[in-house]
Point group: D2
Chain length 151, copies 4
DNA sequence: TTTT
DNA sequence: TTTT
């Protein structure tokens, strides 16, 4: 392959609080769904139409998994970069299924919180835990190692 | 929605010649699969690993559908931008299935051919039709209207 | 040229209200500066460092120039895509100078407002004019033509 | 800053072989100019117009600086991601000048070679050194640390 | 000049 | 399931 690029850029809002799970090896994996929305005027009717797209995001990168666990909550707006990956799995009936996810792993991906909320007004609006209320609410980072992350 | 972004950027190679179909309304739809590839050294074994990801791309934009039909062929390397869309369909057994595609439509998307081949050396390498051999082999365009496309 | 890509993606805040000017031909041109910021821990001292980068953005696209004029104000957070262009000019001393700008023109570019403010709480925070207070505060659009813009 | 993004994506060709220099601290810095090109039909005359844009790229990331030094040559086509940075300097007359560059540093950036050339046909076309002729000609990497780079 |  |  003469060089390839597989990149997704999303700005959207979390549909729910993220799910956190640990691998047997002790690595943290955080996943959530992110909504993006398009609105347009229908050509025929002139009516305003809207379509919401739901994206499944999975973070394998240890550091960004930590950040996601601490700062991401239902409703929060986020900018992220990841790559597309389609995973095969078998359903209860033994049928092959495919699920496409946006992956942030140790190689690639970024996560930036966009709608920082000052302490006072956060008001549990996003179910923010203690950490978020105390920490700087805006975070930005890429998939690099600890000492190379600008925050 | 306080502003959202849904963007995919891919550089890869077509797995097959594109498929062209027409809607009842006479619009052209072109679809193809695009391969991207990652290679890395496994942390444990140190072995070189490779993973190819296949992306399903669908072009609803009339102009870019034309370009894709004329210039894209199996193996050809392309840069493209589109947006993610997951479509629900029902399989033969009546089961709901989901397929995620990269959409280039009248609103958004770009297509740029990267591996232009001068006439002499094309040699049918990509099954290029007459048009491609005669036309300028590198094309770039976005999803805008006819007179706004830079080519 | 075998296909090329020239794309800038920025999320930042306007340093001032945008400037609007008209060409002799009656086209509207809107320009502003956008701040992006990086923070990181210095490797040697461990101190937290910050650097703000200022980007000069110029919108030649009629539709997005209108949107920018109506909705963008000092402090507002925006996502945008454009392309890089370096312009030569001559200073008062007759010396050649170069300025690099992020261009949104009739061919390419996008503009999405990220920090929509409901009427009630906008509070003149961004000097929002009457239009903004009345209109839907979140806007998203690309450089396409009128009837192809999703808003 | 409530989260910001400063990203440039370019696909273009090197204008010259890259320049390599070392800092006093022993870090390698590689810089080059990259051409991107737009062609369009003029609205008034209908004539085909072309404009080439030159981008100044500077790589501070050790690993990618190595890759650039070894594999990049005049004419080579590359995909890269970096961030915009405007640097102030003083010319011989004591006047302040500004230069905008695309930076790939230890925090952010990617570099992917697009026009891989098999050994046989490279033919010194890009002044490829011994390494390039022997090594896998397609390379892709991001700004992460050694053991996290997929190649 | 923004923002946190 | 988000958001406006």
């Amino acid at each position: 392959m003469a060089g390839s690029v597989n990149k997704v850029i999303l700005v959207g809002n979390l549909g729910k609080d993220p799910e956190v799970r640990m691998t047997q090896g002790g690595a943290k994996i955080v996943s959530f769904t992110l909504a993006t929305s398009d609105t347009w005027n229908d050509r025929a009717s002139g009516e305003r139409r809207e379509r919401t797209e739901w994206h499944r995001v999975v973070i394998f990168n240890d550091r960004l998994a930590d950040v996601a666990e601490r700062f991401l909550r239902k409703g929060r707006q986020v900018y992220l970069e990841g790559s597309l990956q389609t995973r095969k799995w078998t359903d209860q009936g033994g049928q092959e299924r495919f699920t496409t996810e946006v992956i942030i792993d140790r190689f690639r991906g970024e996560l930036t919180l966009l709608d920082s909320r000052p302490d006072g007004e956060a008001g549990g609006q996003y179910g923010a835990p203690a950490e978020r209320r105390q920490a700087a609410p805006a975070y930005s980072g890429n998939a690099g190692p600890d000492d190379e992350i600008p925050f």
